[in-house]
Amino acid sequence: MSLTITNLTKTYGTGANTGARPALDRVSLALQPAIYGLFGRNGAGKSTLMSLIANRLLPTSGTVMLDGTNVRDNEAAQGRIYLANETRPFLWPVRLGAIFRREERYYGGFDHGFAARMLAAFGIEPGKAYGNLSLGQRHIVQLVAALCVPVDVLLLDEPVLGLDAANRELFYRFLLETYASRPRVIVVSTHLIDEIAHVIERAIILDHGRVADEFAAESVGSRATVLVGDSNAVGYFVDEAGLSVIARESMGKLSGITVHGAIAADDLPEGIVASGLGLQDYVIRSTGGAADGASETESASSSRGAANGTVNKTTNATARDAACDVAAATDEKE
């Protein structure tokens, strides 16, 4: 089973708005059964991508193929795809059992035993009507339904938003359990990156509607290297070795330059220390959060009204503040 996305582009608005920047810009991905993390800043195109796969939106151009057939307006293919996001409301007066049976009819199956076990673990009474649950509980019911339908492609758009820490942990356990019992394409978008770093098998990073990187999550430590040392020495080494810069930070005479790829310890000059990055730090740096250099800082600098020349002239203070903005934005999400 495979989901193949080719040159998928979505531009919102038409007419006067033509020439607008696409929300999704020629995205190509080949997804196999695995748990994927979909990361990127607010507005990077994560929800747009999921909605296009699930036929909730129509692409401006490009295709999504499930096992060789186009999923666009294709009911048979869409019956194998499930998108859980905030805009999937169930009817309020309906009891949970009836909601699950409705999903069962549409998707041709439902794991009622697993649903009952999850509801019990989350402390939700199965006999209740959907509308009598709290906001967080309603959200959990949506996730329970998503994990119990026998689809081949499961798209979870910010599934842990609004869940407390203990419930998030429970959710990750159930996600792994259902994946192990039936491997399928599962895509999870989230801003709580560190929490899910071990849960996912592969990571997709979107930046301004484009795929910035797609890799085995486990190998994140070798995707990039942070070189720290005397500013001149680090800068000289990076230029000499022709390394591709992702981000630069500096504090007085010390510089930290993040570059693509791993660097063998033997290749390092004396006085420069190299280290890898965790998934969250890598995502932040490769989406222009804490840096200038190769990635764009447009959103960071324009939001601060500090568009003073080229990206390379972005002051270090700005770069650090931008990092704080990212952290703050992540906190708001929680």
Binding site: A180, V199, E201
Partner: protein, 122 residues
């Protein structure tokens, strides 16, 4: 088990090391069945592919064996082998790193030797 992202050690190696450690400590004895990939995966919220990669490393090292349809078991002689492997890794990797660091800090060989001897006595 405890997993540390900042250690720079790939997660599947950490899984293997910790299971290996449990074998050295005798928590899992020779012939014992170890938890399944799914059990470890859900308990520690680690992707099953990563857990499997760690388990396969232990199979390669001869510490675990797959029994078809049953699961993974600790091999005969696993404890001895695991201990030997750790001893080798300590002498080949940890000790040279330790000496390099001492050199960098200007600690003389006899000074270091004296500290080591003292450490052994306490």
């Amino acid at each position: 088990m405890h997993f540390d992202d900042s250690s720079g050690e790939p997660l599947f190696r950490q899984v293997a090391n910790q299971l290996g450690e449990a074998i050295v400590a005798g928590t899992y004895r020779e012939g014992d069945q170890v938890p399944s990939t799914t059990e470890i995966s859900t308990a520690y919220r680690i992707n099953p592919a990563t857990v499997l990669k760690g388990m396969n490393l232990l199979v390669e090292q001869g510490l675990l064996e797959k029994r078809r349809g049953l699961g993974m078991f600790v091999t005969m002689g696993a404890q001895r082998r695991a201990k030997d492997a750790r001893r080798e890794a300590f002498l080949a990797e940890s000790v040279p790193r330790f000496i390099d660091e001492a050199k960098r800090l200007g600690i003389a060989a006899d000074e270091l030797a004296a500290i080591i001897t003292k450490g052994y006595r306490s």
